[in-house]
Each structure stands twice: as structure tokens, then as C-alpha cells.
């Protein structure tokens, strides 16, 4: 069912899982909170990667999907006092449906135009939330005092990590099936995929729905972690860029790459915070990203692969002589 090399990769996942589970044992609660944030960025990056990394349909509209999930659960809990075990699944469902309705026409257009159309959705949402029924959505100020799923840094850490790890592993396994190969081939040459007798619309729709599901879930959980929702934080270009850069930096289309990218970016930003408190930090991460990208366009994922192979080969060579 899975492609070759899956076992080796699985070992990597286990090591990563154990290390992450152990982290709160020796990290301060401030550090743990940084990792919570990293987990959420990783979830969003996974969501983006399933669609855009695989099929090459570059989405600039993921904050739009995340926002639908976030707003759905925020409105339901804030106005109707509905419990989270109903509002979060509802948020996922609404994101999948609404997202698909909006993106469906866009899936017929390729390349830059797809990116631009999806970007327009994000901007549209930003405008609409503030103008249409601001007494319900909270307008520009948004909504605050939203209930949290669990309390405390460590609980939130385990929750976000558990979801991120499960989704990440599931998506990583998915791309290693034949379905994953088919999705990936769309990004390489869509016409040729059709010429192989495959319905690319069906495949794209599947990737999109899956991506929307993850974005909706991540978005809903994220705003309950924050306890508030506001249009500026979500439908913001720098939020979009954090997701995009995490994926590109980590290695788009690999699932593990975008997770690495998300951690790298979040930690880099936090590391820079004491030295450069303002938004100039983003400039530094832009430069760091550019340098890394020039060095290895396939991202951190590939760098690690090369390094591991280098060590393994060196070890083998020593053993054989």
C-alpha cells in the first residue's frame, strides 16, 4: 500500500514524536507556549501542503479557510453558547463546504491566477467581516472571551501537538500511497495525468476538501487557544506568508518539510525577539529564508535528508573497511 522507504521515514516520525512528548519535562512554560504556536503553524502548513505543495495549485487563500473555521466556532460559542464538541466539528464541516463552493470555480484556472483569486477571497473576507453585521462578528475588534478547550501551557501543548502529529503522520502516509503519487503528478503535468486516464478534477477536489478540513480544524482550535478572534490577525498577509514560507523553506509537497519549516520559522522569530523587538524581525527572517532557499531550493527537508544520508554512508564505509 505504501511506497518504498516508508519504514525508514516512520522511524523518523517516532523519534520526533518521543522528543516532542518529552519536551515539557525540561522546557519552561514560556518555551512550551512558543511550541504551541509552532504546532498550529505546522497544522496550517500541512493543510497548505496537501493542496498546494502536492498539486501545484498555489493557494494564497488559506487564511480565508482558517478564518471560516475560526469564525464559525467563535460565533456559535459566543452567541449561542454551544459546546465545543459541537462547534468545532461544525466549523470543520462549514469550512469544507464553504471553502469548496468558493474554490471550485478557481480549481479550473491554473498558476498565478489561482493564487490571485484565492488571495482575493482572503481580502474579501477581511472586508466582509468588518462591514457585514459587525454586531454579530464583532467587526474590526472581533470577539473576545472565547472558551478554551484545555487550560495551561502544557495541556495546550499536548493537545496541539497530538493533533498536529496525527494529521501530519496521516497526510505523510497518504502521499506515500498511489493516491499521493497521482496528486503529486498533477503538480508536475496536469495534461499528462489526464492522458493517463485520471479525472484530475476529482483528484483536485479531494486534495482541496482535505486541505479545507485541516485548515478548518486548525483554525477553530487555534482561536480557542487564543481566546479571541479578530480579522486583522487572521486575514493578514504576514500570517499568510508565515504559512507559505514555512512550506517553501521546509520543502513543499513533502508534509514533513512544512512541519520542519513551521518549527524553524517560529523558533527563529522567537530567538530574534529580544534583539529586534519590532517588525524588522520579519526582514531578518526574509533574508534567512532567501539564503536557505538559494542554498537548497528543496528546503530543510532535503538538507536533512542529505545530512542523514551522508552520516549513514560514512558509517557504512567505516564499517566495511
Amino acid at each position: 500500500m505504501f511506497a518504498k522507504g516508508t519504514n525508514k521515514g516512520f522511524l523518523g516520525w517516532m523519534i520526533f514524536g518521543i522528543a516532542m512528548l518529552a519536551l515539557p519535562l525540561f522546557a519552561s512554560s514560556a518555551t512550551v507556549r512558543i511550541f504551541v504556536f509552532a504546532n498550529y503553524i505546522a497544522i496550517f502548513a500541512i493543510s497548505w501542503d496537501v493542496l498546494s505543495g502536492r498539486t501545484g495549485y498555489i493557494s494564497f487563500g488559506h487564511p480565508f479557510l482558517i478564518g471560516i473555521g475560526g469564525y464559525t466556532t467563535a460565533l456559535l460559542t459566543h452567541h449561542l453558547d454551544m459546546p465545543l464538541y459541537i462547534t468545532i466539528p461544525a466549523a470543520v464541516l462549514v469550512t469544507m463546504i464553504a471553502g469548496t463552493l468558493f474554490f471550485l470555480p478557481a480549481l479550473r484556472i491554473r498558476g498565478t491566477y489561482f493564487a490571485l483569486v484565492t488571495l482575493a477571497f482572503m481580502e474579501l473576507m477581511y472586508g466582509l467581516v468588518q462591514v457585514v453585521a459587525p454586531d454579530i462578528t464583532g467587526g474590526t475588534r472581533g470577539l473576545t472571551g472565547l472558551p478554551s478547550i484545555v487550560t495551561g501551557a502544557v495541556s495546550n501543548y499536548y493537545l496541539s501537538f497530538g493533533v498536529m502529529f496525527t494529521l501530519g503522520l496521516a497526510m505523510w502516509l497518504l502521499i506515500r500511497t498511489r493516491l499521493g503519487t497521482a496528486l503529486g503528478s498533477i503538480g508536475m503535468n496536469e495534461e499528462a495525468v489526464r492522458a493517463c486516464g485520471l479525472n484530475t478534477t476529482k483528484l483536485k477536489l479531494f486534495a482541496f476538501t482535505l486541505s479545507a478540513m485541516i485548515a478548518g480544524l486548525g483554525g477553530a482550535m487555534y482561536i480557542h487557544y487564543l481566546g479571541s478572534i479578530a480579522p486583522r490577525g487572521l486575514f493578514d498577509v504576514s500570517f499568510l506568508f508565515t504559512i507559505l514560507v514555512a512550506c517553501l523553506l521546509g520543502g513543499a509537497g513533502t508534509i514533513t518539510g512544512p512541519i520542519m519549516g513551521a518549527f524553524f520559522l517560529t523558533l527563529l522569530l522567537e530567538f530574534l525577539r529580544p534583539y529586534i523587538p519590532g517588525s524588522e524581525r520579519y526582514l531578518i527572517y526574509g533574508v534567512a529564508t532567501l539564503v536557505l532557499y538559494v542554498l537548497q531550493p528543496r528546503g530543510i527537508h532535503r538538507l536533512i535528508q542529505i545530512t542523514v544520508n551522508w552520516f549513514v554512508e560514512g558509517f557504512m564505509r567505516r564499517k566495511s573497511t
Binding site: R178, G184, N189, E191, A192, L198, F206
Partner: protein, 268 residues
């Protein structure tokens, strides 16, 4: 002989008249214009089961457009396509492939990040999401198909960027063969190849014709390489069928020679 002179156009009744076999693939009155340019004008032709039909014509004659119309890469302004006697106008590209009508592209379209074996995997892929998800690849069969075009063994793990043009053409061919077509449309299989590569591909196709019952439609500029591979030839010029017949008949035609003047055959 002349099927064409008898039913140019839309005479549907005569297409199934008793003394002719049911064509495997048939085009009736295919017309397509791009802006003011008529790329194909009322093109009607057919390929019989097991037959190999050559399509020749000068640059820009509309050969690729014809293939695109047959596979629904583009939709005709007028005309219909029949597969085994059934009108397939409403079938999309991938449905036509599933029905057994597959093609290669004039400019190879490899998947840059997939190995040769993985190309075959995509070609063999069923069109059901669950099927793709739950059933793994058939390693053995993939390698066997790779072997059949001389890309087996170690070579099956190569990537497109490691391949010369001749092998890219093979890759294009093998990906298409993996869909198990009953009729195969080949667009310029010999373009951009060295003499040696042309011989190899030609030999491959000849052998395949001897061992498989696949029907072919082969577009080529290289008349010499095409000759041993086809039973019959249709000449297209300025988007129209100019003439058709056996290879010998067609190249002896003075109109054809004029259309090709300076570009091909007479250098032989």
C-alpha cells in the same frame, strides 16, 4: 478503395455498410478554427481494428490539432468522433483513455519528479480514489512494462532529467502503453531523434505490432521511418485531407510531392 470519396461529410448510414469492417476510430467532419485560422477543415477519416494508419503533412498542416480533437484535448467546432461505432463526443479526455483511446505528445510531457517506474504507475492507475488509496502498486507489472520498451531494470529508477530525447520518447510511449490502450495515437514519435534512436523506436514499434493487436495512428514528418510502420497513409494539408492510400501510392502523388517540396521525401 476510396472510403473517402464515397463518404466525405456526415453520411452516417454508409459508415456501417455491410462490406466494410466497423472502424475502430472514426472522425466525421472535424472542423476547428483558432480565431481566423482553420486548423482542420471537415476532416473525415477512419482506422480499422488492428490497422496502423500514418498521418503525414507539412508543418502546421493540422496533424496535432486532429489528434487533439480526437482525444478531446480541444473541442471541435463541428464534427464527431466514433470509437467502435459509438459516438464519444461527450466523453472527456480521461474517459476516452479509459475507453482505450490514448495518445503521446509531440513534445514529451514527463513528470519531472517521478522515476520511469512511477510514470508507469500513474499510467496504470485506476480512476477510483479508494482504489488508489488502498491498493499498492504492482511492482512486478510496472517493471515488466518498463522492460517492454527497454527501460527495465536499473533504468526504471531514472528521472526524466537523466534521459536523452530518444529515451524521453520511450518514456512518453511507455506511460501511454501503461494505460493499456486499444488504439494508440502517436504524435511525431521520431522528432528530434538521432538516426540510431529512430531505428530503435521503429524496431520497438514493429515488434510490438507483431506481438500485440493494438491499433495505431502515427503522425510523423519522417516518411522513411514511417514507411515500415503503417498500412495506409492519410495526407493532411492546410487542415484538409488531401489524399489517402498506401504509402507507395501517396508518395507517388504529385500534389503530395509539391506540398512537401523542399521539406522531405524527395531527398530519398
Amino acid at each position: 478503395m476510396s472510403y473517402f470519396t464515397e463518404n466525405k461529410g456526415f453520411d452516417t448510414l454508409s459508415a456501417t455498410s455491410e462490406n466494410r469492417p466497423q472502424p475502430m476510430l472514426e472522425a466525421r467532419g472535424l472542423t476547428k478554427s483558432f480565431g481566423g485560422l482553420m486548423a482542420t477543415k471537415n476532416v473525415s477519416l477512419h482506422v480499422n481494428p488492428g490497422e496502423s494508419l500514418g498521418i503525414i503533412g507539412p508543418n502546421g498542416a493540422g496533424k496535432t490539432t486532429l489528434l487533439n480533437l480526437l482525444t478531446k484535448e480541444i473541442t471541435p467546432d463541428q464534427g464527431s468522433v466514433f470509437l467502435n461505432g459509438n459516438c464519444i463526443d461527450r466523453l472527456s479526455i480521461h474517459k476516452r483513455v479509459l475507453a482505450g483511446l490514448a495518445r503521446t505528445y509531440q513534445v514529451p510531457r514527463p513528470f519531472h519528479d517521478l522515476t520511469i517506474q512511477e510514470h508507469i504507475r500513474v499510467g496504470m492507475m485506476p480512476d477510483g480514489l479508494f482504489d488508489m488509496l488502498l491498493h499498492g502498486a504492482d511492482d512486478e507489472k510496472e517493471l515488466k512494462i518498463a522492460e517492454s520498451v527497454g527501460l527495465g531494470g536499473e533504468r526504471a529508477q531514472q528521472y526524466p532529467y537523466e534521459l536523452a530525447m530518444g529515451d524521453l520518447r520511450r518514456l512518453e510511449l511507455v506511460r501511454t502503453l501503461a494505460t493499456e490502450p486499444s488504439i494508440l495515437l502517436l504524435d511525431e514519435v521520431f522528432a528530434g531523434l538521432t538516426v540510431k534512436e529512430i531505428d530503435q523506436i521503429s524496431e520497438l514499434l514493429t515488434n510490438r505490432r507483431a506481438t500485440h493487436s493494438t491499433t495505431y495512428m502515427i503522425v510523423s514528418h519522417d516518411l522513411k521511418a514511417l514507411e515500415p510502420l503503417v498500412d495506409r497513409v492519410v495526407v493532411i494539408n492546410f487542415g484538409e485531407v488531401m489524399t489517402e492510400g498506401t504509402f507507395r501510392e501517396v508518395v507517388a502523388d504529385t500534389d503530395v510531392q509539391n506540398a512537401y517540396l523542399g521539406t522531405g521525401w524527395e531527398q530519398e
